[in-house]
Amino acid sequence: MRRKNLNNLRKTIVEAAFHSGEGHIPSALSILDILWVLYGGVLNVSPKSCQSISRDRFILSKGQASLGLYAILSEKKFFPKREFKKFGSYGGILGGHPDMNKIPGVEASTGSLGHGFPMAAGVSLGLKIQHINAKVYVLIGDGECNEGSVWETALIAAHHKLDNLCCIIDHNHSTDRALKVDDLEEKFRSFNWKSLSVNGHDQLEIKKALMTKHPGKPLAIVANTIKGHGIKIMENNPAWHHKAPTREELSQILQELI
């Protein structure tokens, strides 16, 4: 696997947010490398197989990063790029949080934090019950780890030995100012998960982590990321958490992404 420059996807995300006046851009950017690796050969899913019972699943539990998922799904041809023109509009299929009943390739309608992770555990258990050999990947945020349901799920997934489940934690420190959640690798290990940490912007490192064998246990990958990664004015800048760029800012950002 070769490292891929994802500036074209960053451009898609920023332009969609600019035109709609909506979007959590930095949150989308912090997971972009992870999603690129997942959909670049790890996940056994394609636009043709996205209804197949034996497909691998990916659930974006931190639904506010939807623009990142949309950018990848459209790049992989799950839906046409023209949908971005209607992002956040009344009749569009792409909203601020993803809707599984509207968007091909979206596995769960998330947005309220702490829901996608236990749903992913339920899918993992359902696949095991039916002896279906498919894997479930779920991405949660470190802020989302404030939610009690995350730890309910950590407990129950290990108890049921869901070794077809992989949880990636986007550790972009978004919640440090409120309720800091550190030592995530150790926390998941203490819940009896196989747990490791990676640089969440190193595509090769991410791929290697996702290939880790974890028999008898679910796998937790703590991805150390930078919120707003790839656009200087947004990186680790809380002012951009939920903000669309002005025309001047857009121009400046697009210059950076050339």
């Binding site: 019972i53 599984m100 009943n101 596995e107 769960a108 309608s109 947005g111 309220s112 702490g114 829901h115 992770f117 236990p118 749903m119 992913a120 555990a121 339920g122 899918v123 993992s124 258990l125 359902g126 696949l127 095991k128 019950i129 039916q130 279906i132 009690g148 349901s149 309910e152 799920t153 407990l155 129950i156 108890h159």
Partner: protein, 292 residues
């Protein structure tokens, strides 16, 4: 009714490979045989209602039919948002079967009361609500509906009617016809209502499916324009729908659990008496309606 729940669900689990039972650490002894026979589809999932509901949604995403069972207050109020988003918004299918509705756990106090389970779930579009009045009602209604589309809430009750009538999911039963008023008795309140109006010229409608509401049968039997709704939880859950469906003037009285914390203990019968869930009070209210 709880014993019937075990019997019915055991049978369904045995015959429908798509069903998965999730117990919130109650009813485990009752289902001991199913645990042995179907270990991959019967779980004592633990005391974690939020994750349980989301996981149940996840199970349905793979085509399985979850049946979640625990105490009413915990499985409706604590995880209301999981029911709303994960089942309602996502259009997924499943079943919740509760015990301890209203003050069935009277002696355990307020933290175990759930007089708002049905009313709050009625705020979620598409959730179906079943309030059986007998064990036989539960068996019949559950078998008819558990594999339908959408999420259903079945409210088991500690008390049952002596009166027996075949019931159909989504259909109201007209038990008695009269001209001067109509009484709707929900689930286990039918017996009391029938005794209360024995010598009165009123219609009695028995309701075991609260949603989808059989407004056709109800409005066809409201010619007096006077209605008493007897509900074993906070009142008002079906009022608006009846008023919207009925073309004419309607005078409605409600007998339900009052909206206050019930801080006394005792038995459910003690609470019934204090709240007016008695033949005498129903009789008084109906007479008042008739003579208005």
């Amino acid at each position: 009714m709880r014993k019937q729940f075990v019997t019915t669900v055991e049978d369904i689990i045995a015959n429908d490979q798509k069903t998965v039972l999730m117990l919130g650490d109650i009813g485990v002894f009752g289902f001991r045989r199913s645990f042995e026979l179907y270990p991959s589809r019967v779980y004592n999932i633990g005391i974690l209602e939020q994750a349980t509901i989301s996981m149940a949604a996840g199970l349905n995403m793979t085509g399985l039919t979850p049946i979640v069972h625990t105490i009413a207050t915990f499985i409706t109020e604590r995880c209301f948002e999981q029911i709303k988003d994960d089942f309602g918004y996502q259009k997924l299918n499943g079943n919740i079967v509760s015990v301890g509705g209203s003050y069935d756990y009277a002696a355990l106090g307020c933290t175990h009361h759930a007089p708002d389970d049905v009313p709050i779930l009625m705020n979620i579009p598409t959730v179906q609500v079943v309030v059986p009045g007998t064990a036989g009602d539960f068996d019949s209604l559950f078998r008819q509906s558990y594999s339908n589309r959408g999420l259903r809430y079945y409210r088991l009750s500690e008390r049952e009617n002596e009166f027996r009538v075949p019931v159909k999911f989504g259909k109201a039963n007209v038990i008695k016809l009269g001209r001067k008023a109509t009484v709707i008795a929900v689930g286990p309140l039918l017996d009391k209502a029938l005794v209360a109006v024995k010598n009165l010229d009123v219609t009695v409608i028995y309701l075991t499916t609260v949603r989808p509401l059989d407004t056709k049968t109800i409005t066809a039997n409201l010619s007096s324009g006077k209605l008493l709704i007897c509900e074993p939880y906070y009142s008002g859950s079906i009022t608006q729908e009846i008023m919207s469906a009925f073309k004419g003037t309607l005078r409605i009285d409600h007998l339900g659990v009052p909206k206050k914390f019930l801080v006394n203990y005792g038995t459910a019968k003690d609470h019934d008496r204090h709240m007016g869930f008695t033949e005498k009070e129903i009789n008084r209210r109906v007479k008042e309606l008739i003579h208005e």
